[in-house]
Amino acid sequence: MNIALFVAIPLGFAFISILHKKLAPILLIAASLFIIVGLSFVQNGETVIGGFEAPYGIHLLMDSYRLTALYIVNILFLSVVLLNIRKYHQMSTVLLISLTGLNGLIMTGDLFNLFVFLEISGISAYLITSTNKNPLASFQYLVAGTVGSSLYLFGLILLYAMFGSLNLADLSMQVSQLTDKTPVLLPFLLMFLGLGVEVKLLPLNSWVKGILKDANTLSGPMIASVYAAAMSLVFGRILIDLFVFEGRFIVIVSTILLVSILAGEAMAYQSKNVKEILLYSSVAQAGLVVLLFVSGLASWALFMVMANAISKMILFTIIASASEENGDDITVLQGIFTNNKLIGFSFTIASLSVIGLPLFMGFVVKMNALNHLFGEQMFLAIIAILLASVVEGIYFVRLLLHLWTPSETTVTFDIRMKAVLFALAVMLIVFGITVEPIESLKDTIEIGLNVGGTSWRI
């Protein structure tokens, strides 16, 4: 199975899909299914595009990390699509392109190619958010995203000027051979800021509120779960493979991350509006994930992304669906779970997993990450994580108590939504109880990171 197909097939389907409106949703689901099925026939290694070996040509990479990332993104993508395709069928082409973009983003081993895919997925994200009917917010997202990718391109071109290559592996080898690392810090900071816009790190994420505040069942889970997962996984991979942290760069990065986490939690704590609570909490979680990547805990960060993505998918879908008729004030939504036990159950599990309570996937991830951090004596990160957990706990308890308290509100949920979300919630429990799959996956991922490090760094 040539992994270029994961980009080519959805792209080709997208080109076809503009011909026939009825056909488009079918093509979308077919492409999505094709990728998920195809993922099990994938072999690790690099796939050259156009017949030119790295660093001259572009190549796609596959290892356990990327495979896991692809599974996460594609499965969540498919579930979002299945839940929304009937209502938002006109978005099929856009979704196909965004699938192309996200898959390419995860697999590519070339920094400029990554920029191209960043733009592809970015533009399709702007279009997905246009279903919110808030053009101002989408416009702001577009401006922020364009500024971000311009910064990324600027940093990238500085790297090219210094090292004469655009290949990730080639660059990381050359950077690691430098004795004085100060010259590369500016491009790294530029790229960090550029990608930080997409990953929702704090001072750069003013677009998040406008987008997620009015999110519907398509754009909410798509941006908060699928895109957030893909972007942070790509960002994390670059952080691990390429970046070096030194001097002022460390200071700036750690300030950004700590402020993201603490301010995100504080804002969620202060909010009275369910969607706002969720969106600010996802800001904090993005900071947490990047913090783990920066600390070198790649595999646990990957699992945290996975746990968060599943949780956010559940939370945003439920809230977006419930607030379609009622608005999303915390008091308006009181008691929506009294008649929807299954939905309430999924929501509760997702939020408990985000807090990091035992039995759920978030716990396993948080505990292992903490364990490593304690071993490394990184107390600032530890304090941030523990404080964040306390605050998260408080506002989620408040939310849960409100949503579970019986009241007159009646909201009906789609039966398919119930099924899909329940399955995802069960997944959180399964990964929270049986640790073996995660542990073994972690081992292969770490082997992949090392082997990858030696084999494809020329």
Partner: protein
Amino acid sequence: MKKVLALVFVLVLGALIMNHLNDNNLFAGFGDAMLENRVSQSYIDRDATENNDGVVFDESLDLESGAANTVTAIVADYRSFDTLGEVTVLFISSFGVALLLGQSKKRIALEFKPNFMLKIGSRALFAVILMTGVFVSIHGHLTPGGGFPGGAMIASSMLLLYLADDEFRAKMRGFKILESVMGVFYIILGLAGLMITGFFLENFLDNGALGTLFSAGMIPIVYIIIGLKVGSEISSVIDHFLSEEGA
């Protein structure tokens, strides 16, 4: 005041960046780029895959990339995947514009009434520009230009018709089919490369002698595809921008 402050801020930043880059020994100054240390030297020498004795215009046969224009060689051969992505960006933004502005409605009426001469003249000019566009696209591997400017020229010929004739509406359906078919062709070309040589988007045609029209393997084909696709996409964008809601 705020503006002055902002201006000072950005100028300080610019000065700081310049200062930083000047201090940076890895960063060559303006005009002093060292190509030997970069991958691009291999693009110019056409020796990315095997050692190559040298490239001579009009003589070298069957180079790894047969375009005389090195930029074209990179765009359509070495980094063809980027170009596929680029086409996708244009495709999705054209689709997005259509999505956002709606399948409209009525086109904007211009404030002046074009007279007969203008109409005829623009028809003639339309043909010329269209031909130029196609020419630029096809000769992308030899001369500056290529599919993107070519496509844009095709689109601007359509624009000319729009401007010259108040009533003119392009046949959007045709553009759509053209766009779709060309996109699929591009993918099929890539897949064919995958089938024949084992690499997606690999050039599987003969390259011929450097500098002749029928050389460079797939590149002219790719550029024609791109030219037509870009042309139709941009025309559709223009059409949507020239229409408005109502009536």
